[in-house]
Amino acid sequence: MKRLVSGWTTGLTVLVAASALVPAAQAQTVPRGADGKPNFSGFWQVMSSAAWNIQDHHADVNVPAGQGVVEGNEIPYQPWALAQKQENFENRETADPNGQCYLPGVPRIMYMPFPFQIVQTPTYTAILFEYVHAVRHIFMDGTPHPEGHIDWWMGDSRGHWDGDTLVVDVTHFDERTWFDQAGNFHSDALHLVERYSFVDADTIRYEVTVEDSKVFTRPWTMSLLFYRHKEENFRLLEYECYAFDDLFRAVE
């Protein structure tokens, strides 16, 4: 946002314009920080089967049915990539990188069936995940992505505000993560733009635009909701995927 010229007439104009754009109830009822920005701090989780398949799908063994979260339900794969996706799907029981308990990458971890905690400050936001104790660091101090390319499972996240929407640019990805258990995939050229905005005080709309010129013919977008956990004494527990008892002594 451009810096505003001081003067009460300008300020008044902006106030009027802002109140016309933002529904009054939303502007007043969502949590806000000392900086006046929406404050997303708290415990959140999706109610979605996107982690199994981000597109429309009916139920299968241990897979709940779901309406897709991809706008238009179509993922614009390049021809070779569509063939790769289908191969991934056929082999998903062994080929899914989550089966190795690797960090699931972004955006997949955002819609896995585990809670996460957002801790927001004006210049930095942490997202702490129950699943494999993953941490996302979102730097919001205006610093750019580091030079690269860097292969990071969870990418490098830099955030800024677009009005009341937190926009996070994520790059520097490893090519080994998938979008879901159905084999939807990307390359290390993956670039995400995430948009976090309040629907109401207890619901966040999460939109993510996916760009990867090596795999897709055009950018595409997913949209989900995060719901606030309000249980008493709620806290994140642990899902140490690779450390369960029957794996503890797992050498043949």
């Binding site: 942490a126 702490l128 104790h133 990071w152 806290r235 527990l237 140490e240 450390a243 503890f248 002594r249």
Partner: protein, 331 residues
């Protein structure tokens, strides 16, 4: 090299030092992690020999210390009035790291441990040791537990079973108090909470200050359940719900799931926090004992970067020469 690169390089070196201290973790790698001239500190593309070589280089600046390993600086009187967070907590936000050259190779005093360490690293004895009580620097095991600890120590060079390998070397979480003498830690203080995020293996702790009770005792966690409150400039944290799978160092210093910690994080001055923890476990120790670690403030602009430990971990294959079964997610 830009300031930024320089900053990162320092971070890499610091991280190398810290992680290399765990050298017998034999954490060899899942492949090179450099691209575009960047080195990412969390996975290692070289062999153990190279790791030892790196350690040797890093150790050149170390001052040899004869005799006993140095103890952390004892807590000082702290009567100052620190800055406050909006909800009135002493403001300890920022980046911190331990200042005592404590490795997680062995936390106990004693030449047997250190000779082994020195033999591997050429690192001399320039490492600290954190046990302040009992004064001899030894963990006060019950007799049966002392035998068990000796057995694990004897095994650590050539473990005969997977469960005799350091859990951290296998990619598991440090647990407590081990994470607190490892490395870079970021502290956040949203209202009513203290949150500690450790760079190594992307570990975090959320400490509520609202007087809420511990979770049910049947729930066991690698990082436990922490509940805290401030006493003056000291954050007092009670930690329960710990599982029995973590160790206190590489050589098998151990505890049971009856482990109970009382941590005292004293904000001594703007750049120093003293961490003193009372460690109690009636199943394993003859009496409670204490560690002390001095934490110092790091550059406020430090950025924690990804530390993907499990993903490149071949410790089991390297140590036992056998591949583990296919791991699988079960959610």
């Amino acid at each position: 090299m830009s300031t930024r690169d320089s900053h990162r390089r320092d971070g890499v070196v610091a991280s190398l030092r810290e992680t290399m201290a765990d050298l017998v973790s034999l954490r060899s790698s899942g492949g090179p992690v450099t691209k575009g001239g960047f080195t990412v500190s969390t996975r290692f593309s070289s062999s153990i020999i190279a790791i030892v070589a790196v350690l040797a280089v890093l150790s050149l600046g170390a001052t040899p210390v004869a005799g006993q390993a140095p103890l952390p600086t004892p807590p000082e009187a702290h009567t100052w009035d620190p800055p406050r967070t909006p909800d009135g907590q002493p403001d300890i936000r920022g980046h911190w790291s331990q200042q005592n050259r404590i490795t997680t190779y062995s936390i106990q005093e004693g030449t047997a441990d250190r000779e082994t360490h020195i033999g591997i690293t050429g690192q001399t004895a320039a490492t600290g040791r954190p046990i302040i009580d009992p004064p001899d620097g030894k963990i006060p095991y019950q007799p049966w537990a002392a035998e068990r600890a000796q057995f694990l120590f004897d095994e650590h060079w050539g473990p005969s079973k997977i469960e005799y390998i350091d859990p951290v070397s296998r990619g598991f979480l440090d647990g407590l108090p081990r994470i607190n003498y490892r490395g870079a830690m970021k502290i956040l203080q949203p209202p009513g909470q203290v949150i500690m995020i450790n760079e190594y293996n992307h570990t975090y702790r959320v400490i509520p200050l609202d007087g809420s009770p511990h979770i049910g005792s049947d729930i066991k966690l690698w990082m436990g359940d922490s509940r805290g409150h401030w006493e003056g400039n000291t954050l007092v944290v009670d930690v329960t719900n710990l599982n029995e799978h973590t160790w206190l160092d590489i050589v098998g210093s151990f505890h049971s799931d009856a482990l109970h910690l009382v941590e005292r994080w004293t904000f001594v001055n703007p750049d120093r926090i003293d961490y003193e923890v009372t460690i109690e476990d009636p199943k394993v120790y003859a009496r409670p004992w204490k560690l002390l670690v001095n934490h110092g403030r790091m550059d406020d602009n430090y950025e924690q970067w990804e530390s993907a430990v499990w993903e490149g971990n071949n410790a089991v294959e390297v140590i036992l020469g056998a591949p583990p079964k296919l791991r699988r997610s079960r959610w």
